[in-house]
Symmetry: C2
Subunit: 363 residues, 2 copies
């Protein structure tokens, strides 16, 4: 997904507009997050730093990316040797900028100290959090198309991998099949370490696949792709053989909770209210204690982005956001169920992008 240059220029202008609202104002904002750099400038390499100002954006990278930066970057790009932050300090001194914003979550303490040591005492440092991430929450149509494609590839990969499921196969082998199918179907790579958790291990929300054979019982699969740089995310819980009454009951409750949460997704609703919709259903089934994570999260250039759909999240949903809805219930020693789709918020409500069915399925 090569980003059109003019699209990045608009993003830089939106960043600057949003910064104006922050007090005190910055003369320049130093951007160091790789994902924020990609969003603002189009740069897909691993080493860069941007400095956004009212009159334009400066970009520095190292000589490995000279050619790539010239092609990709919507800013005054320069390839330099040595630490990129030295260039930032020199530029700030030359331009006599007084108030410098920086991404406090994307600069190490050591890097910040280096930056500060290179400059005079007259500068004021303004730590900023989530400024670009906030802009990224609402996606453009092009970004939503990338996410929809990634979601489709992810679902096709699950189908293809399940067709290869054989007796005696291990969790790790099935995870390898999933990743392989994803990449064959067009993904760059998985968007996180694929989770395949069988039997009682499905009760661990962050289980790593083991080399143990998948036995009869629950089979929880949480998987996502990066395609065109954009993430997808889906969880399905299957059964090898008929589920126990207890597991069937849990499945039904989680599905009901997931549908209830999807049902309330619309512009203007608080993220916490979506979380509550899922949580209330699970509570009615006596499973609220068994649901110990949040109901979902935004996704885009990263697998986890704002907004978080958690208990205390005040962010209001807006049309154009891409989010997951993924309630679950986990009973130690018994098993766990999670059902997760990727959605986009529309002007009227939402559209579930994930095409994979989610009725209880016995494999």
């Amino acid at each position: 997904m090569p980003v059109a240059i003019n699209c990045c220029t608009q993003r830089q202008e939106r960043l600057w507009d949003s910064m104006k609202a922050l007090d005190p104002p910055c003369d320049a904002m130093i951007v160091t997050s790789r994902h924020n750099l990609r969003y603002l400038t189009g740069f897909t390499g691993s080493n860069g730093v941007a400095v956004a100002t009212a009159s334009g954006t400066f970009f520095f990278t190292d000589p490995r990316y000279q050619f790539q930066a010239a092609q990709e970057v919507a800013a005054k790009a320069k390839a330099v040797t040595g630490p990129l932050l030295n260039q930032v300090a020199a530029l700030a001194t030359r331009r006599k900028w007084k108030r410098l914003g920086f991404e406090q979550d994307h600069l190490t303490a050591g890097q910040f100290e280096l930056l500060r040591s290179k400059m005079t005492r007259h500068q004021t440092w303004l730590p900023r959090s989530g400024v670009v991430e906030t802009l990224r929450m609402v996606k453009s149509d092009e970004e939503l198309a990338c996410i929809a494609l990634s979601v489709k590839t992810n679902s096709m990969a699950l189908d293809a991998a399940l067709r290869r499921l054989r007796a005696g196969m291990s969790e790790a082998e099935l995870a390898a099949e999933i990743d392989y199918q994803m990449c064959k179907l067009g993904a760059e790579k998985p968007s996180f370490d694929t989770i395949v958790a069988a039997g009682v291990r499905s009760a661990l929300p962050h289980a790593h696949p083991t080399r143990l054979p998948i036995g009869p019982g629950v089979l929880l699969i949480d998987m996502g792709a990066f395609q065109g740089g954009y993430a997808s995310d889906m969880t399905r819980t299957f059964f090898l053989g008929e589920p126990t009454r207890e597991m069937a009951r849990i499945y039904k409750a989680v599905l009901e909770a997931q549908l209830a949460a999807i049902d309330v997704v619309r512009p203007g609703i608080k993220a916490s209210a979506v979380d509550r919709a899922a949580r209330n259903v699970l509570k009615a089934h006596g499973l609220d204690k068994a649901f110990m994570h949040s109901t979902g999260h935004g996704l885009g250039l990263e697998i986890h982005e704002p907004p978080r759909l958690g208990k205390k999240e005040g962010t209001k949903l807006e049309a154009g956001m891409a989010i997951t809805i993924e309630p679950g219930a986990y009973v130690e020693g018994v098993g766990g169920v999670r059902i997760e789709d990727t959605l986009r918020v529309t002007t009227q409500g939402c559209e579930v992008l994930t095409p994979t069915p989610k009725e209880l399925r016995v494999l």
Copy 2:
């Protein structure tokens, strides 16, 4: 690779011994790097912080990892809600520690500010770099066995993937085959994004695999696995059809450079001298300008660890280090060659762990 508890205790003692040499001394050292935490405590989860002191090590994680931490961690482990750094601040205040070391490369500016804001003005903050990384350079026999296994899996995966190479296959498809075979053969995952670069694209040292079919000419593959938590790394350059005279000449020069570098690896030699051994050979072939990266790097829990085998690296090699030797030559518009093995430094010299042959091979 579950690390034996007593092995971690020894590592903590070695950390404390090495810290004594630093001036001024610390009362406690706050460890936040995920890899350093794994090394020192055995913890394999994603969220934890350790505080090392002369009398023992404290460890904090969140409730998701309560059970796992109890099993894995060689320290006083506690699962807590809320930011882990708040717990560190409370502990430091309670214990009246005055001089606090922290990993300045593994704490964001925002986290450091949070930590500082929770404490009194009487504390002195001592930024530290690479303290645990330095300990990690020399591997134990168990660690070297893990690396050797990862290397073996990686080489077997290359063989298996090459057997599946077909006319018209794209770089991305071959990369997917490689990752798949790796995981089927026992790896947890690739240790970095697999590079498959065909034709003139082989001249880009950090090429991403494309969906373009692999045509006749150069085929450069750089791949590595994580197995038992430990990395392997290998590059091979093949030819589809007979190489041009120019490419055959470059291949011969790079192989000669790689063997020359391996030849000088032994305890006591400076990393820069190993780099020079490779560089001198390429210079003699008029290819010094075509070799724009360093000759190798350490590897272990991370794919890139100290020591770097670069022009200016003064670190002396020691028995027990695991390193790569990977000179290359890249000619824009023509093609590139890189040949890389994983080695361990022995008391007498070194052992090349990578079993894959490296004579010029036409596929």
